[in-house]
């Protein structure tokens, strides 16, 4: 853990060397998702609701998945950039060090400019929460925190899976973006609006539905069943990291260096 923070501070200082570039990039990172939110807002000017959810409810859905995404993109970017390590044979260096591979890959890259996207999502969340009249209690707050944490963990898991894939092939690896970027875009709307197979895929296989849609039904009082069940759903989503880690370990075992 100490080592992780060491990596963190080194990379923070190195990125701060190019301050203007960093600021511009952060602003860009702010506006990319913001334009999506604006279009969502404009669509709601024309249409009243989507699948029974109004603007503020969808905005909350949007904010939570984007917070999860931005945090994981900041801290787990190493896995996202991993294919290039394999191509250049740099993974060998990581293997010979007496520390865990996961820690080292995580520590190899942080994208602090994601603060732009993160702050954008926080603003949207505050906007949504002000306009929604939710009766907050302790359990709901805990659920909300779990949801965000679960988002971070699931995105990290997906990055890991994508990185693992690069042990076997690096061609066409951008198809993994369907799950990362695509999953993010999909789950910024409640999953209920999609076809059944899409809903099932993003609930049981890559569980983005457990990050915002299902627990939000509880927070927004849309359920008529067992509240506690919906409350612990984000925890189930977090379990996704376990098979991801196992597959990663399996991949590392089968790694053959490119040798250069």
């Amino acid at each position: 853990m100490k080592l992780y923070f060491k990596y963190l501070s080194i990379l923070l200082r190195s990125q701060m060397q190019y301050r203007t570039s960093f600021i511009l990039l952060s602003i860009g990172q702010f506006f990319v998702p913001f334009s999506i939110f604006i279009s969502m807002y404009l669509l709601f000017q024309r249409f009243d609701h989507i699948g029974g959810w109004n603007l503020y409810e969808v905005a909350l859905c949007y904010a939570i998945i984007h917070i999860g995404f931005s945090v994981s993109e900041c801290f787990a970017r190493g896995f996202d950039a991993f294919p290039s390590y394999v191509v250049k044979g740099e993974f060998d260096r990581i293997l010979v060090r007496p520390r865990s591979t996961v820690l080292q890959v995580l520590g190899a890259r942080f994208e602090f400019s994601r603060i732009g996207r993160f702050s954008q999502s926080i603003i949207v969340m505050i906007y949504a929460l002000i306009n929604l009249s939710i009766e907050w209690d302790f359990i709901k707050i805990i659920t909300l925190l779990f949801m965000i944490l679960s988002g971070v963990i699931i995105f990290t898991g997906v990055y890991m899976l994508g990185a693992t894939l690069s042990f076997w092939t690096i061609q066409g690896i951008e198809a993994i973006n369907i799950v990362t970027d695509g999953g993010r875009e999909m789950s910024q709307y409640p999953l209920t609006i999609y076809k059944d197979w899409v809903k099932k895929f993003f609930t049981f296989i890559i569980p983005f539905g457990t990050v915002n849609y299902l627990p939000l039904m509880y927070i927004l009082d849309k359920t008529n069943g067992n509240d506690y069940f919906y409350m612990v759903i984000p925890l189930f989503g977090m379990l996704f990291i376990i098979p991801s880690l196992m597959i990663w370990k399996f991949g590392v075992k089968h790694y053959k260096s490119t040798g250069s």
Binding site: G28, Q29, V32, L43
Partner: protein
């Protein structure tokens, strides 16, 4: 001129080699297409009001956007040109007995074409086999189709002319990524790729119609879908030609000015 054409051919052939990347691209585009369609479908179900574009027309537009993405995206970036400017290899380019604007222009347009050629056939083919609400259909008649082809082609010329301006601006900023990102998002939004132009509120539509961005994707695709009539289509072709002349002029003058004070980045 023949130098530009052979460069164009070379780049085109080179781009056509990347078939696996194209396959992954097709898959991704399919996914996005489906997603947008499902979202619009859900929105349309929530109201009985008649919208300025029918759901079926919108679906056709979505599929066209996905399959011709490489022709219409602003951020389709050429890292080689960026590094030429940033690392100083621009010096070699300046030694060539060719006009830099034309040289880069033909290179950029070839890249877009090769990328689009590999992608649009499979996407449209599969999309036209889908069951009803998702199906991509042929235009009503030949004239519509011809108008679509003409406006799409002129639109491509506009997109590349705009992206040339972005590259030229890098002579001044020397760090592309941030400004490219902001420019890209803005252009995407104003060309109706994030929210379709007909669904925008009125005041925003006025701004969009005054800028060149929508002439690259919104115009040809809505002509194809039958959302824009002949009369407006023909008037818009003149608008496209106007933008092409204007953007070429600005680009040529600007690159001349930029090259006068160009600093070769050493190393």
């Amino acid at each position: 001129m023949s130098a530009y054409i052979s460069l164009f051919k070379m780049r085109l052939m080179q781009g056509l080699q990347y078939q696996v990347a194209a396959f992954a691209g097709v898959l991704t585009q399919f996914f996005w297409g489906f997603m947008y369609i499902m979202i619009y479908q859900a929105f349309y179900q929530s109201t009985t009001n008649v919208q300025p574009i029918s759901l079926h027309q919108l679906i056709v537009v979505v599929w066209l956007q996905q399959s011709f993405l490489a022709l219409i995206m602003l951020w389709f970036r050429d890292n080689e040109i960026i590094s030429l400017i940033l690392k100083g290899d621009i010096a070699y380019e300046l030694c060539r007995p060719a006009d830099l604007y034309g040289f880069w222009y033909s290179r950029l347009i070839a890249q877009r074409l090769s990328s689009a050629l590999l992608r649009f056939v499979p996407i449209l083919l599969v999309a036209s086999l889908l069951p009803y609400p998702y199906r991509f259909s042929l235009p009503d008649n030949v004239i519509t189709f011809l108008l679509f082809l003409i406006t799409l082609f002129l639109g491509l010329i506009i997109v590349v002319a705009i992206s040339m301006l972005i590259y030229i601006s890098m002579f001044y900023t020397l760090s592309g990524v941030g400004s490219l990102l902001i420019f890209g998002v803005l252009g995407e939004f104003l060309s109706g790729l994030i929210i379709p132009v007909p669904l925008m509120p009125h005041s925003l539509k006025i701004i969009v119609y005054l800028l060149p961005f929508r002439y690259c994707s919104d115009l040809p695709f809505r002509i194809y879908a039958g959302n824009i009539g002949y009369h407006e289509a023909i008037l818009s072709i003149f608008a496209q030609i106007f933008w092409i002349i204007l953007l070429f002029l600005i680009g040529k003058l600007w690159i001349k000015k930029a090259l006068k004070r160009v600093v070769i980045q050493g190393g």
